[in-house]
Symmetry: C2
Subunit: 200 residues, 2 copies
DNA sequence: ACTTGACTTGGGCGAGCGTCCAACACAGAC
DNA sequence: GTCTGTGTTGGACGCTCGCCCAAGTCAAGT
């Protein structure tokens, strides 16, 4: 094998882990499967990571970061708050449809973290980032649409995460985009009623 | 070991599997751990079940059944639709708080089923039952409160499942009942606006 | 009393797992 | 050219997994 810095290999192993886990599930992401996916021999894995859990830690952190950047990028001004929020939600649903395994991995990793004392704190961290993303989304959308929210942001953010989580879970089971869109419409209708024109 | 019919042992193994998986996660529910929890020797497991997957099949079916009966039992008349629905939702949240592992197992089993070709159909079946439960809940609540829904039942049922799924997932991470209750209030406010007095 | 069929059990099979180690290869510093 | 530190690797360790077999035990039917 050509020589390569350990840092570079770490990055490639993380990417390989995401690929194999998206395809076949977190449980199938064994050290051997990840190393093979990255085209490395097994021993390289433990030269770069102290343990499988160490890789899982970095993987969760990496994915949450990606998710947050996506939320930030999804925002663009629309005619009103309903359209602005609707576009962002549509962006997420399109991403979900294109990378179902990706979102599935996030759930699986979260559940794995909840059950693994060594990783338990990452479950909290993952959702902390989700709430942060939701807050960014709601705040930016309101600004772009020139309105303000009538409920405290923490409650609103938790509602958004709740709905996206639920919509994702149900979609992952039946891949029924039409029904998910119907639910999205209803959620948007309601979301719009929770705002009022911004006073300034 | 005292003699016992295979059917009886199957039931005890299922109960043991639920206990050990609620406590330590689905992944920890190995054939050995389940047999030990049931106080049987390992070989008994494979005398009663052809394979671990066969037990998982029956476990998912059993749990979905329990869940459906719980939804049916949770309904009792309130002053209006908001209170009627609110009581049912509260009943669920109380159950969740008392048996977190139980609901966690349902998610883990669902994700496991999604990734296991042999069990894939059960993921669909599980959610089919959820939608059925939600339909029962919504229909009964509307009847008890003397109102009717202004949206088609399939969309409403999917919304309920979406929200309960999302609320459960988020609660399982932080066990923050207060925040979950706040979300519940907002959801109920909106739910009430989706009804109108029943014409008759 | 004997047969039959259902139930019980200890032990073992082959496979896969995470992790580790000792030996080796190589680039850059001296 | 030698040394040093970083990267590479085949092979093995101990363990757990799902599953299976062959020999046993026992209650009921005849």
């Amino acid at each position: 094998m050509a020589r390569m810095s350990a840092d570079e290999r770490r990055a490639e192993l993380l990417a390989a882990a995401l690929r194999v886990m998206s395809r076949d599930g977190v449980a199938a992401g064994t050290t051997r499967a990840i190393a093979a996916e990255a085209g490395m021999v097994l021993a390289t894995f433990h030269y770069c990571f102290r343990s499988r859990n160490e890789l899982l830690r970095e993987l969760i952190i990496m994915l949450a970061e990606i998710e947050r950047e996506a939320a930030r990028a999804a925002m663009q001004p629309g005619r009103d708050i309903r359209e602005t929020l609707g576009q962002a939600l549509n962006g997420y649903l399109e991403h979900l449809e294109k990378n179902p395994g990706h979102e599935q991995v996030l759930f699986e990793l979260n559940h794995h973290a909840l059950r693994t004392p060594e990783l338990r704190d990452l479950a909290d961290e993952q959702y902390r980032q989700y709430y942060e993303s939701a807050t960014i989304l709601l705040t930016t959308a309101a600004e772009l649409a020139g309105v303000e929210w009538q409920l405290e942001m923490p409650v609103l953010a938790r509602m958004v995460v709740t709905m996206i989580d639920g919509a994702t879970t149900t979609w992952l089971v039946d891949h029924d985009t039409e029904k998910t869109q119907a639910v999205r419409e209803v959620m948007l209708d309601y979301g719009a009623t929770l705002t009022r024109p911004a006073r300034r």
